[in-house]
């Protein structure tokens, strides 16, 4: 079934301090649906990793945050969009420890472990969209 959506709200990711704003927006949404403190922290941390990826590797873009409901559950969906170079090898990029050199190689794989749903869509030369969902338990 198609989840009912609330929002969405978008924020540009063009500079360093935009990453902080994205974290704050995601936290506001997570608090609104009353995610547990641990789940809020996990989601915000994942959002921070992904927003930084959008900035550093994607050359900037935007984040979209919304409340979704499906099958009687409520959750937060956050997606990160860029029109950067894209990721040539998705499975490699998702492997633990893989890094293009600027990080620890935990960004994508680490973020995936912190959320309930994770979807990565990337095309070389076109850009990347990463979508994550955290459901209220």
């Amino acid at each position: 079934m198609t989840p009912r959506s609330d929002g969405p709200e978008e924020l540009p990711i063009r500079a360093d301090d935009d990453v902080v704003r994205v974290r704050q927006l995601v936290r506001t949404y997570a608090q609104q649906v009353k995610l547990s403190l641990v789940d809020q922290t996990k989601l915000v941390t994942a959002a921070s990793e992904l927003a930084r990826n959008t900035l550093v590797y994607g050359g900037g873009g935007f984040a979209r945050v919304e409340i979704i409901t499906a099958d009687g559950r409520t959750g937060i969906r956050a997606s990160f969009h860029d029109e950067g170079p894209g990721i040539p090898d998705l499975s490699l990029a998702l492997a633990d420890g893989w890094s293009s050199g600027k990080g620890m190689g935990l960004g994508l794989s680490g973020a995936r472990r912190l959320v309930d749903e994770f979807d990565l869509d990337s095309e070389v030369g076109r850009g990347t969209v990463v979508m994550v969902v955290k459901w209220k338990r």
Binding site: D17, V19, E49, G110, L114
Partner: protein
């Protein structure tokens, strides 16, 4: 960009992070600390993160980097006050913070530095 203030208490530098850290602030803090340790001859650095709501891989790496830099100046680093939700998230993220000493709170962190100092023949919190 906001800068994180560094306080000097005897031979220890205290960094209490009270802002939502952006990456530039993290880098500035690393540089400021290196300068300050070198200038003051501090033997210990305490980073208080009790007000920090999230530690992602960039911020986590900062702790390891600061610990390594301090080491080069013969100073020890202790990270104190990590929130439980942050600890759980860090482990799941896969960040082990290897080589970074931690303590439950500021008091215990200071005690750890005192003990290390004593082992090395320094006297408590006195500056060298």
């Amino acid at each position: 960009m906001e800068r994180v203030p560094i306080l000097k208490i005897g031979g220890v530098l205290l960094v209490s992070i009270q802002i939502d850290l952006q990456d530039q602030s993290v880098l500035a803090l690393q540089e400021d600390l290196a300068e300050k340790i070198s200038a003051t001859g501090a033997h210990g650095v305490v980073i208080d993160i009790s007000a920090v709501e999230i530690v992602d891989s960039f911020i986590g790496r900062m702790f390891a980097t600061i610990a390594s830099i301090s080491r080069l100046f013969d100073a020890d680093t202790v990270v104190v006050g990590m929130r439980p939700a942050v600890a759980i998230t860090l482990v799941e993220l896969g960040l082990t913070l290897g080589g970074v000493r931690t303590a439950l709170d500021l008091e215990r962190g200071m005690r750890i530095l005192e003990n290390i100092g004593r082992e090395r023949g320094r006297t408590g919190l006195e500056a060298r």
